[in-house]
Symmetry: D2
Subunit: 376 residues, 4 copies
């Protein structure tokens, strides 16, 4: 019932708040034998980290992961992996300003309604800093998936009205995405986006955007046919991230105006004799199960709620007041959202990989001769 | 690990396929004392039923629910509610045509990849007929929620490029929605939609659309702050329905081009002294937790994959072939989608209602006057 | 949260009461490709059935299973298996006698306390008739396990003070156990037990006993090291059966007076080069994980609570009264308990078999020659 | 699927090994508003701690808990409680002796079989040191339960053949139990037990025992009627503790020789008008649900497997060898087992308290007038 775990077979549980002592994550269900050290976690943590460019908040956190358990002599040993992060930059701040006021767009009011009170320092449990746990766990998931040949990437597709041209996802590389602080691999678009974000910041405002994620190499057969469809679990994963207001996969909202005759992807036999589809409107998922085509999805991210300008609100007693965010905040969440989304995609996929391990009796054991004709 | 259950506290488990003996659903976690009979289930089942209008498939199923357990002397008794549906209209059909072919847009290929073979009669487990179980369970969820004053409705907002004007959701009634076969409460739009669907049908094609759902009366405080955010569980719920390719809540994809200063909803004190927001871009959910404002979300539904025209595909051995759907299929899934979506929304909300019952110690027991002194 | 499901990967959910329309069980997580029909379920259902001998209740139920879903063309298809039982022998009985009285030893009072009221016909949800679902699911679990070479049996070890001599479990056969109505494979002991039960019945009383269960062929490595130890899950499984008041495995309660030097089982290398232990005080489980030795456990079953003699009790208003059970009841539950216990053991073992499928990365994929170099 | 969590509504997840960096536990589902600090955890941790008396291992660990999250301004805030323990006394030991050998009675062999290798320092994940997490979480559970008036205690009932006389549990106090290092509240028996343990230690051997636990103040109605019976969840909880080989509640194994007429507990009305039973053979649980009588159960604990004498075994290659435990080990596990057992009992009870919060519709909301006659 409690809501701080994610996944069925590869399950993560997180704890911690933005201005407390730090964060903990326990990853349960990781198979033994995976080479693992803190060094495997750092690249994605660095991509998520504040202060990495002029576009994002300057809060200075080392975000250094401490693997507390689950790794022995350089490899996972099958026991739960505990990872610990310390909050270093807890400025001795005066919170009296926000202690009793509800910041618009934030969870202050709803947390109070739920629990009777809240940790009013920063976002408390609702802070996006919690995703540090997910990104670390996601890095492990990605590494596991790499043994199956699965590669996951995300990039910024749109900020405001500036849209990236369509890209050849199968050729897209991490380096291209990381080549600029916006994480849009089209260099020209990236510059426009960067300028837009800068101008928004100067206006003491913030702006939203759209990010696209894809996984290449997922074989056909992952996902469950009814409730735990791959699209459903991906949807939950992305919508569980702060600020995400919409999720779509494949053609997504585009299906609203589509005809079936154009939306259906036709099957054909590929050169390698495998079965594929000539188009990929289905985003690699049919009936909730992976088809072998690239899995493609997108998430819309709202503009940062914290604004360095006065906003009307009320305090806990209902009296009208106003509030100005003084802290350090990204004018656009998208660049740092990329590693978070990739992590969630990896967590879903590794979970369904493990879940798919007992789909068929002939995966479990040699079937006797006479049942081969049945269960091939 | 298996994927045929949904919900944590109010949990449903379904079984059955479209052309087998029928469907079973077990609803576990329903509190005792709720007056319940088959009559409570029939209205929504009728709205979901095939053959209800000229717009939808003419398959003739009574869809009569049989409450098998969990109700004693007219009330739920706290034990699991079992409901049984028989498949009546199993035409002795010749399936040789689709047995070995993969229908485009369907789960035929992916089910084969997952399980080694599939029930090739109709969609098998992937048939939307499985939602009969969800609609029945959802009717129970709705009735429970009505005791808390929560009202859930859905309607068709867009089909193809025909969009309903913005409606005053708080005044919208079930009767208005049911007034026409499209389930768009704006009469003029409904006629346009109906005409569009008819013309698509004549072209042996199908068309997609968008449906909007809302819940009024949810108090602040339902939902969990991290993984089991209300928006995440709603997203999973809707994306677990067949043909849904996108989910959004509140302003949804509209946030991509929004500025924070316009997207934030400002808090104010309402006449009844409760705290509300002047606008509802947040769709009733802040930080994953209900705010007390109406919860509003939308789902995009793709055009029906089964088409009465020839489509290219391959058979199980990879040979190229073509396929024409001969059966009875809706040219547009949206009208019958409404009760399915309402059911999933109800299941999520009743689950989070029950989950919210232990948020605070003072809900569990009278706290002593000075509870701090008890801290020994 | 609701309590009507059992198992993680091979999960069963049951519904129904003893005097309602019947029972439903949904088995989720059964791999595809297992040949299955009602005939596979009947033998164990017959062993569980009332009326099978003069020792047990004469209630006449066909206990005929109807596989409602999950089997296609004679094999499981990976979708949930639904099984339905109808209650046939619902005598139009006068329940006024027990409607408002609390039967000693039964759940009447506690169900009322929990749910506010109860189905007073028979035991309602607490009736041992619910185990019909478990026995059917257990038969499927047993059949799956047989592909892995696992064999499960149980027998009556003690009734009252009559104890079976120690048996060579590895040579014990189902036929020996089924050779007499008591299900004690030692013929002489069986006669004594039968006589004891008959004399207890004549005294309008009932008697308890002890049953032993074992599984042969479980390979080393099933079970989890901490909470989901094999012994813990077996303990829960057996204690979830009605009337069980104690569970032990291996030497069980005998360890209380044992010295470590005699209780430890010493490792040695067997002729087949496998590692075994010279004794099996550990009942095939070390640290919660199977060792490869036979898994052995026992459950104590209390004497039937329903008695055909007057017992003091109170009614719902607290007034003193007395009650005599008029119905048909076994004077000793042990003979019919054997198939129930076997079923629960099979459900636990098949679950942990499936769970063990992702323990090691080299089960999931071919590891590269020097997998350490992959640690990038 | 992974096995490192326990509980449904009040759920704990643990990580860590005996000779790694330390342990983590995340407690999810604790209601907000509970006053909590490290000081609440220390008393039970001290009772569990090594080195507390001459009877137990002298390993010197401070076992100091660090509350990492979940508490704000002295009270739980509804977010997950993270607690961290550092392993301080990691002697730089030479493990070459046990690295490749399988210690009899330990999980060395089975962990290798499961995960391919193991952390060979101490027991790794199978070390009883993991219970430090459970005892800390159990202290929180106990404190929560105290608000409901529930009191939990355990004591050593038997060591070898030395048995404590029957005690009046309702009058038993923590002070009486803690009055001697054996934790047997009968002073005379305690001395005999102490002497026995000392003599066993001198013989380089170890000895088992039996511990009894009880909870007073649990109201009628906690527990679920079928799989999640209170007795089943208690059984799992105790059997998930290291070295436990048997669990019984109420009359336990004594039912084997009992007649129904003596075993049934008769209902009567108590002076306070509540309904009780004249005896408590049912150990406070009927049909898996609490009856309001004291809940009483017992666990058998095997003699310590580590022995300071040579034992035959094999190494990983199957070669015969022998092993002598050089480390610090308790000759009898019972004294330190008491706080572990109490913790597990508290975790089960608090979980079922929270689970029972939605049993009846009239707990959730005011029922309308006309339904009062139904759901009272």
């Amino acid at each position: 019932m409690p809501g701080n775990s994610f996944g069925e077979c590869f399950r993560i549980t997180t704890a911690g708040v933005s201005h407390g002592r730090g964060y903990l994550v326990i990853i349960d269900g990781c198979p033994s034998g995976l080479p693992l050290s803190e060094e495997d976690l750092r690249p994605d943590l660095r991509r998520r980290r504040p202060g990495q460019s002029h576009l994002v908040t300057q809060r200075d956190e080392a975000d250094e992961p401490h693997i507390w358990s689950g790794v022995f002599e350089g490899k996972t040993d099958g026991t739960p992996i505990g990872i610990l992060f310390e909050n270093e930059d807890q400025r001795s701040k005066d919170y009296s300003d926000i202690k009793n006021k509800f910041r618009p767009g934030h969870a202050d009011f709803t947390l109070d309604a739920k629990f009777g009170f809240r940790d009013y320092r920063g976002g408390g449990r609702s802070s996006a800093r919690e995703t540090i746990c997910r990104v670390a766990a996601g890095a492990i998931a990605k590494k596991l998936l790499s043994y199956q040949g699965v590669r996951i990437l995300g990039y910024v597709k749109q900020i405001g009205t500036i849209i990236s041209p369509t890209l050849d996802l199968e050729r897209l590389t991490l380096d291209q995405i990381e080549a600029n602080p916006v994480r849009c691999p089209d260099p020209e678009t990236a510059i426009h986006m960067e300028n837009l974000i800068e101008s928004v910041r100067k206006n003491r405002d913030s702006i939203g955007g759209l990010a696209e994620f894809f996984a290449i190499g997922v074989p056909p057969g992952w996902g469950e046919p009814v409730f735990d469809k791959l699209k459903a679990d991906l949807g939950k994963a992305f919508l569980s991230l702060p600020a995400v207001t919409a999720f779509e996969y494949g053609k997504g909202l585009g299906v609203v105006t589509a005809r079936g005759s154009e939306n259906n992807d036709l099957f054909y036999q590929k050169i390698d004799k495998k079965i594929g589809t000539t188009t990929n409107n289905h985003g690699g998922i049919l009936g909730g199960i992976s088809s072998g085509e690239p899995i493609i999805c997108r998430a819309a991210v709202k503009p940062t709620s914290s604004l360095p300008q006065a906003q009307q609100t009320v305090d806990q007693s209902g009296l009208e007041t106003e509030i100005i965010t003084k802290g350090r905040h990204d004018p656009c969440l998208l660049p740092r959202f990329i590693p978070m989304g990739e992590a969630m995609m990896a967590l879903v996929l590794v979970d369904h990989w493990l879940r798919s391990r007992s789909n068929r009796l002939n995966q479990l054991c040699e079937l006797p001769q006479d049942s081969f004709s049945l269960a091939k």
